[in-house]
Symmetry: C2
Subunit: 289 residues, 2 copies
C-alpha cells in the first residue's frame, strides 16, 4: 500500500472514533471536515519516508505517528483560521471550519484533534511500548511549549517577534517532529533526524511566504496577502522575491545533505529532492523555465 493510502486510512480510523455512540455528532462532523479532504499531507508523507528509510518494522505504529502529526497540523489550521486570529473565510477552497460549523465547534474540533494525536499514538504502541516515550516527547514538544507550533503562533501576539524563531516554531517544529518521530517509530536513534526536518520546515515556510505574495486566491484555496494585511513576518517581504527564492534553493540543498546514514538513504534522497522541487511555486518554476 502506498504512503498516501496508508495515511488516509490511519486518519480515517482516528477520526472514526468521534463517530461512536455517545459522541456529539456535530463535533464528529467538524473533525472529519477539518481533516478530509486533506492538503498535500506533506508532513505525514515525510514521516513515513523516514520510517521506511530507517527500516520500519512496525508499520501500524509508523502510520499512527504520521497520522498524529497530520492531526496536529489540521488542528493548528482550524484554530489559526478562527476570527480572533486570521479570520479566514476559506481553507482548501471551501469555507473554513468556523464558517461551516460555527466558532464553538471550531474551537472544540481543534482541541479534540490535538488530543486525538496522542490517543492515536498510544492505541498503536502496544507491540513496542518503550517507543511511546520518545514519541510522546517528540510530538508533545512539536506542538506545545516552549518551542512547538502553539508557541510559534503565540509570537503573533507579541509586539516584537524574531522571524527565525517564529518560523522555526510555527512551521519547522512539526516538520522536525515528522523526521524525528518517523525514525523513533522505526526504533532508530531519533535526534540525528532533526536537522533534515528543520531545513525542510524552513523551506516550506519560505515557499508559503512566496505564495502568499504572488499567487491568487483561487489557485491557493485560501486568501492571499494575509501576512501583509495582518502585519506578520514574511520572508518574501523581508528579503525580496529573488532573495526568498535563493533562500528556498539553499534550504532544499541543505535538507538533502542533512539525511543521516540509514538503510534507505538513497531512496529517501530521491523523495526529498522531489518534495523540495514541488515546493517551488508553479508561477516561479514557469518563470525560471
Amino acid at each position: 500500500m502506498n504512503a498516501v493510502k496508508r495515511i488516509e486510512r490511519a486518519l480515517d480510523a482516528a477520526v472514526s472514533m468521534a463517530e461512536m455512540p455517545g459522541c456529539p455528532p456535530k463535533l464528529a462532523a467538524a473533525m472529519r471536515y477539518s481533516v478530509f479532504p486533506g492538503g498535500a499531507r506533506i508532513r505525514p508523507r515525510l514521516c513515513l519516508a523516514v520510517a521506511g528509510a530507517c527500516g520500519e518494522d512496525q508499520p501500524k505504529l509508523a502510520d499512527a505517528v504520521a497520522a498524529s502529526i497530520e492531526l496536529l497540523h489540521c488542528a493548528s489550521l482550524v484554530h489559526d483560521d478562527l476570527p480572533c486570529f486570521d479570520d479566514a473565510e476559506t481553507r482548501r477552497g471551501r469555507p473554513s471550519v468556523h464558517r461551516a460549523f460555527g466558532e464553538p465547534l471550531a474551537v472544540l474540533a481543534g482541541d479534540s484533534l490535538i488530543v486525538l494525536a496522542f490517543q492515536v499514538l498510544v492505541q498503536n504502541a502496544a507491540p513496542s511500548p518503550s517507543r511511546l516515550v520518545p514519541l510522546v516527547k517528540t510530538i508533545g514538544g512539536s506542538v506545545g511549549i516552549p518551542w512547538g507550533i502553539v508557541a510559534g503562533q503565540a509570537w503573533e501576539c507579541e509586539d516584537h517577534a524574531d522571524l527565525a524563531e517564529y518560523q522555526r516554531e510555527k512551521t519547522g517544529a512539526l516538520f522536525a517532529a515528522a523526521t524525528i518521530a518517523g525514525a523513533a517509530a522505526a526504533g532508530a536513534e531519533a535526534e540525528p533526524w532533526r536537522l533534515l526536518g528543520e531545513r525542510l520546515g524552513e523551506a516550506y515556510q519560505v515557499a508559503d511566504d512566496i505564495r502568499d505574495v504572488i499567487e491568487n486566491a483561487e489557485d491557493l484555496g485560501k486568501p492571499v496577502g494575509r501576512d501583509l494585511a495582518l502585519g506578520r513576518p514574511n520572508a518574501a517581504a523581508q528579503f525580496g522575491l529573488d532573495g526568498a527564492v535563493q533562500r528556498l534553493r539553499r534550504l532544499a540543498g541543505e535538507a538533502v545533505e542533512a539525511i543521516p546514514d540509514c538503510p534507505g538513504a538513497r531512496e529517501l534522497r530521491a523523495v526529498i529532492l522531489s518534495e523540495t522541487q514541488r515546493l517551488m511555486p508553479k508561477k516561479l518554476a514557469q518563470h525560471a523555465a
Copy 2:
C-alpha cells in the same frame, strides 16, 4: 510533603517550561494566570489520594499525573470561558483569561495546557515507561473523543443533549481519570477505580448546578444563573432544589461504597467522606443544620 504542596510544586514545574528562552512571554504569562492561584484542586487531590491508597511507589509520577489532570481542567475552564461559549467576564474572582490577555492568547493558552498535560506525563515516566501506556490512554480518553470533556462541552452545540451523557463527559470524565490514573501511577490495576471517580464527578456536577442556582456571584467568584441564561442542562432546575440535594447525598454514599480493596482503603474512605461533605453548598449546609 502534603498533597496540596506536591500538586502546586508539580504544576509550577510544568508551567515553568513556558518561561524558557524562545517561548513567547505573553503565552507563558497567560498559562501561569490560567493555573495559579488555583481553585480547590479537587481532581489532583483525589488522584494523589488514590495513588497513596494503592501503595504509591513512584511519587514523582503520581505528582505528574495529578498535575496533568489539573492542567486539563484549567484548559477546559479557559476555553469554556471564551466569548463563543460562556463569554465569562470573571473566573475565580478575577478577570477570565480572555478578558485579561485577549482572545488569541486564551485560545493558545488552552491549547498549550492540553499539550502540557501529556508532556508532563512523559517527562516523569522514565523510571517506569510501561505505565505510560495506561496513563496516556486514560488521560487522552478523559479529555478527547468520544467521551471526554471536550465531547461533553460539544453537547452544548447540539439541539438535543442527554443530561446524564453531557455531565458524564463534561465533568465525570476527568474525575474518573483522576481515580483511574491515580491507580495506574501506582502500578495498580486501574479499571476498578472508574466507578468511584464517576460517582464523585456526578456529585460534583450536581453540587455545581445547585450553586449556580442559589449562590451569589461574589461568593462563587464567577457569574451565577449561567445555565438558565445559556439554556444548559442543570440538575437543580430539572429535579428541583430538594431533588438535587437528595441526589447529591445518594451519589456521595455510592462513591464511598465504590472504593475498591486496596492497602489504604480506610484512610481513603475518610478522605472521600470529607470531600463529599465539602461539596454541599454552605448555604444548604447551614439551612440543614
